[in-house]
């Protein structure tokens, strides 16, 4: 889209207006026929506190260039805490908008008393004026799945092709998958085989099947055990796409905020603004032929700051510290986008492909020879998924652990004693889907903790952290996480070492269970951070 287009299509302001005080002021403007700008599209709401962050973001992804959340002064909220909630949501979403390169000033909170109509008008005019200076946002409405409603999904050729491509007929009905599946084991009425049978029998519209398709963790444990090598996670991934194509909604967690965020990154014109808060002492070199790819950790930290005290961006900084330790001053991409993993694995293949193409083009244009990432999902997605979708990359993708193992192995370094008893949570992507259980373990073995004890199920048999791609989180997921945390406790560990930022988020979430707080709680640290803290020159 050119600048010219931007100017010619009008700015759109979405005004979420609280029903109470502020609405009275707005009504006065209407009654007195004051010139409320045409660009303002008012949505009357019961309370500003009810507009959550997912909705705020959605207003942008649906075409808003600015969003105003207008309500009551703190203390005058009819429901008590609405204003405070709205202010916090505005702040968080603003930080996300900054990361996306859109700018937090496109989202404003304001409060007006019923008799402050002129002040409200001035606020709207100023907002419009500012937005006119800034221009329209670069988010384009998400492409989304193209509905194929004329083809009934149950008998359609798409489904037949899926069944054939994933060898579903090879299933011997042995039940090994269910006896390995952590969801089935925790008691959820869920069966991988059941979904497979339903697909073959054409029962995909059954309520239980519909629900189960979104619950699968795509963790790969079943595939690990299946004697017929039925790649169930991959089948589920494609099945979800089929559901989305048929307008069957997914079961996205957190009001779909994270998916909306990731979808917005499929807009070609969007220029994210990452790495603004990188600690000063870290050394980067924009001419380096080694790129460090961070992934979505900073978005998560903002989104989860209210409930979970997670600091996953620190993992990225520690990764760069380790690169620096070994004299690598990596290049960082200020306009780094999401890799698209969660979109693909939640059935939004169109958006994934759009992001993937943008990423492949951008990355291939850099002239780098290596990309290093510490995120197992980014790693798998760039290393395996892009090429599998026909997107070749002209550089090598390596996981930080591979880099570290190689460097440590040839260097005169040692590890300071770690006064902790540790255990380790595998990443399903790295350990099973990429088949590299040894990567973190080589490094773990180099550490000098008080003790290192694997959990009852570890390595290829490890149970996952309870959620994947932000879909289908329910009480069974929680039960599963509780079981996993109990396994961690059973090792006697006081530090749970993780390999994926999301494991920390999901497991931390389970630790918040108020009834079991003390029993489940355990310190967590990413392996990257543990290494960064303890490595030293001999």
């Amino acid at each position: 889209m050119t600048m010219h287009n931007k100017e010619s299509s009008p700015i759109k302001i979405i005004l979420f207006l609280c029903n109470w005080g502020a609405h009275a002021a707005y009504q006065t403007l209407q009654d007195e026929q004051r010139p409320i700008p045409d660009e303002v599209h008012m949505v009357r709401i019961p309370c500003t506190g009810r507009i959550d962050r997912a909705l705020l973001l959605k207003a942008f992804s649906m075409g808003g260039d600015g969003v105003a959340l207008v309500g009551c002064d703190p203390g005058t909220c009819r429901y008590g805490t609405g204003t405070a909630t709205a202010q916090r949501n505005t702040k968080d979403t603003g930080m996300i908008l900054d990361l996306l390169g859109l700018g937090s000033d496109r989202l404003r909170f304001a409060s007006f008393l019923p008799d402050e109509s002129e002040k409200l008008l001035l606020f709207l005019e100023t907002f419009l004026h500012d937005l006119q200076q800034r221009g329209k946002t670069s988010i384009q409405p998400a492409v989304g799945a193209q509905p194929v409603t004329n083809i009934p999904m149950n008998a359609g050729p798409e489904l037949q092709q899926l069944i054939a491509a994933h060898d579903i007929y090879a299933c011997q009905d042995c039940g090994k998958c269910s006896s390995a599946c952590p969801l089935a084991l925790i008691g959820k009425p869920f069966s991988a085989r059941g979904i497979a049978t339903a697909a073959i029998a054409g029962n995909l519209n059954d309520e239980s099947v519909k629900e189960n398709v979104w619950s699968c963790l795509t963790c790969g444990l079943c595939y690990e055990r299946c004697p017929s090598a039925v790649n169930f996670p991959k089948f589920i991934k494609e099945l979800r796409h089929l559901y989305k194509q048929n307008n069957k909604l997914g079961d996205e967690t957190h009001g779909g905020f994270l998916h909306a965020l990731m979808r917005s990154m499929a807009s070609p014109e969007l220029t994210p603004n990452r790495w603004q808060d990188i600690p000063q002492e870290l050394q980067v070199d924009q001419k380096s032929n080694i790129l460090f790819y961070g992934g979505c950790a900073p978005y998560y930290d903002i989104f989860f700051n209210k409930h979970l005290d997670v600091h996953t961006e620190k993992i990225l900084f520690d990764a760069i510290r380790l690169l620096n330790f070994f004299d690598v001053h990596p290049r960082l991409l200020k306009d780094e986008r999401c890799c698209g993993h969660d979109l693909l694995w939640s059935g939004d293949k169109e958006c994934f492909l759009q992001i993937a193409r943008l990423n492949a083009d951008r990355l291939n244009s850099l002239g780098i020879d290596t990309m290093i990432t510490s995120c197992p999902e980014c790693y798998m997605t760039f290393n395996t998924t892009y090429p599998a979708h026909g997107l070749a990359l002209n550089f090598e993708v390596i996981h930080l652990y591979e880099f570290l193992e190689k460097e440590i192995d040839r260097s005169a370094v040692s590890f300071k004693p770690l006064a902790k008893n540790i255990t380790f949570q595998d990443s399903c992507r790295l350990t099973r889907l990429e088949d590299k259980p040894e990567l973190p373990r080589q490094l773990l073995d180099r550490l000098s903790p008080e003790s290192f004890q694997e959990m009852q199920e570890s390595g290829r048999a490890a149970v996952c952290c309870g959620n994947s791609a932000w879909t289908g989180c329910d009480s069974y997921s929680k039960a599963m996480q509780v079981k996993r945390l109990e396994q961690a406790q059973d090792t006697g560990a006081d530090l749970l070492v993780t390999a994926c930022p999301k494991c920390q988020i999901h497991l931390k979430c389970a630790m918040e269970d108020p009834l079991r707080l003390n029993k489940l709680s355990i310190d967590m640290q990413d392996l990257t951070s543990v290494i960064a803290q303890s490595i030293s020159w001999k």
Binding site: D318, F325, V413, A532, S534, I535, S536, W537, K538
Partner: protein
């Protein structure tokens, strides 16, 4: 390296010591031949034979010089490479402040040297590379990195010529392993001296 050490480079006297079967003599031979055949210097080698070559203490004395060498025995080594505790103990008294000591840290656990000492787990590394017998080659690599005694290309050529046919690649890899570790050791010392011990500063 101190200035003094640089000045003595004109003639460098080396003792390689360990026990029979470790390839101590071969290590000395590779260093000496790399210097003379590869780097076009003068060199001599004196090897201790006898019962020593069957598992007891064993040593090679090497002198490398820019000018002809008149006396091939080493009294005060500029470089002592020790791959056994007994070997180290035997020559410990001959080390001076200006010497450089290189040890296999697992085989020489106790040292008390007046000079700079550099340690490597050459035997363990060799085991990891698939053959314990390559510890000597790892040591040659380590020595080359720390002391710049011979050029890497000469050392590699000489290794390729001295080891059993078919094992050249593996031995060159062992040399590189020791060499990289040596460079890393020097870098680590530099960093530490600059106060940068770990990754988090």
């Amino acid at each position: 390296m101190t200035d003094k050490e640089k000045n003595t480079i004109a003639q460098t006297e080396i003792i390689v010591t360990g026990f029979g079967g470790q390839g101590i003599i071969l290590a000395g031979k590779i260093l000496g031949m790399a210097a003379s055949l590869g780097d076009h210097k003068e060199s001599t080698l004196v090897q201790a034979y006898g019962p020593e070559s069957r598992g007891g203490a064993c040593n090679a004395q090497v002198i490398i010089s820019n000018t002809p060498i008149h006396y091939p025995y080493v009294q005060y080594p500029d470089i002592l490479i020790a791959m056994s505790q007994a070997g180290y103990d035997k020559f410990a008294g001959q080390i001076t402040e200006d010497s450089i000591l290189l040890i296999d840290q697992d085989l020489v656990p106790t040292v008390d040297a007046p000079c700079p000492a550099y340690a490597i787990s050459s035997t363990r590394m060799a085991e990891k590379l698939g053959n314990k017998m390559m510890a000597n080659i790892i040591m040659v690599g380590f020595t080359t990195a720390i002391t710049q005694l011979v050029s890497t290309s000469s050392a590699e050529d000489m290794i390729a010529k001295s080891v059993p046919k078919g094992t050249e690649q593996k031995n060159i890899a062992a040399f590189t392993k020791g060499y990289d570790y040596g460079l890393s050791t020097l870098k680590g010392r530099e960093r530490k001296a600059a106060g940068q011990t770990g990754a988090i500063v």
